[in-house]
Symmetry: C2
DNA sequence: ACGTAGTAACTACAAGTGTAAACTAAGAGG
DNA sequence: CCTCTTAGTTTACACTTGTAGTTACTACGT
């Protein structure tokens, strides 16, 4: 995912399913997505095709049908999009973004603790 | 900006100019954008029109031409987009996102210090 | 009064996104 | 062997985004 490819919102949902469990068939992906979307299987298939076109999803046809799997790791994709997001909306400043997020209403105390820990393990 | 409006990448650049200095004419906006884009003035005008359509930019026609100004504050917009971004890419976990960002190569020590401070002033 | 510069307003158009129907092939079950 | 279910493939279509040309207006300076 070094290439600056754009994964759209909807496509991202499919990637999440695949990251969580690779090598799924179309039907299985549809099943997993039933929960948060009401996309038809052809819709999902279209998006998988686009993701393959973007080189972030691969397919292998073992038996009769394809099984799809991610070609880019979630970590890499997350990092890439996070960086470009921070650049675009916060001039690259992580702290500005965190400040904006923390100023929003509901910050769990846990979240703060975790954050603190991450930063400490970092330096 | 409570409405979940989408401001596209390019539009965002225009908003930034307007946030930095409101009440600019088209020509002035074009001037400010010369630095990082090579958009023609009609292109910019088109985007301003779209932003007005989305209700995030207003115009007042004082003399002969319009002066544009933001109707949504940068803070609000940043918070909105940051929240939706974290939700989409990191399941809402700020710490996950920060971890991803910090694991990227170049983290300035300053950045870390600032972050730490933000978190401390927070609890 | 007239050209010029800056704008407004309208139109355009390709690529990307969201969403899916339709048609087809092919294995699974009876 | 025939039908049903699943999946693959093709085609579609509206909306958004990026990008801009064209045409018409209007104040401003000469």
């Amino acid at each position: 995912m070094n290439n600056a490819l754009k994964i759209s919102d909807s496509e991202w949902k499919i990637m999440k399913v695949l990251w969580q469990e690779p090598h799924l068939s179309l039907g299985e992906i549809v099943g997993k997505l039933k929960a948060d979307t009401s996309w038809s299987s052809t819709t999902i298939r279209t998006m998988i095709g686009r993701l393959m076109g973007k080189g972030v999803v691969g397919a292998d046809k073992s038996h009769n049908n394809f099984r799809f799997f991610p070609l880019a790791s979630q970590k890499d994709c997350q990092q890439t999009v996070a960086e470009s997001f921070v650049d675009r909306a916060f001039e690259g400043s992580i702290s500005l973004m965190v400040a904006a997020l923390l100023s929003g209403k509901k910050i769990h105390q846990d979240e703060l603790a975790e954050l603190k820990q991450i930063i400490e393990t970092m330096e």
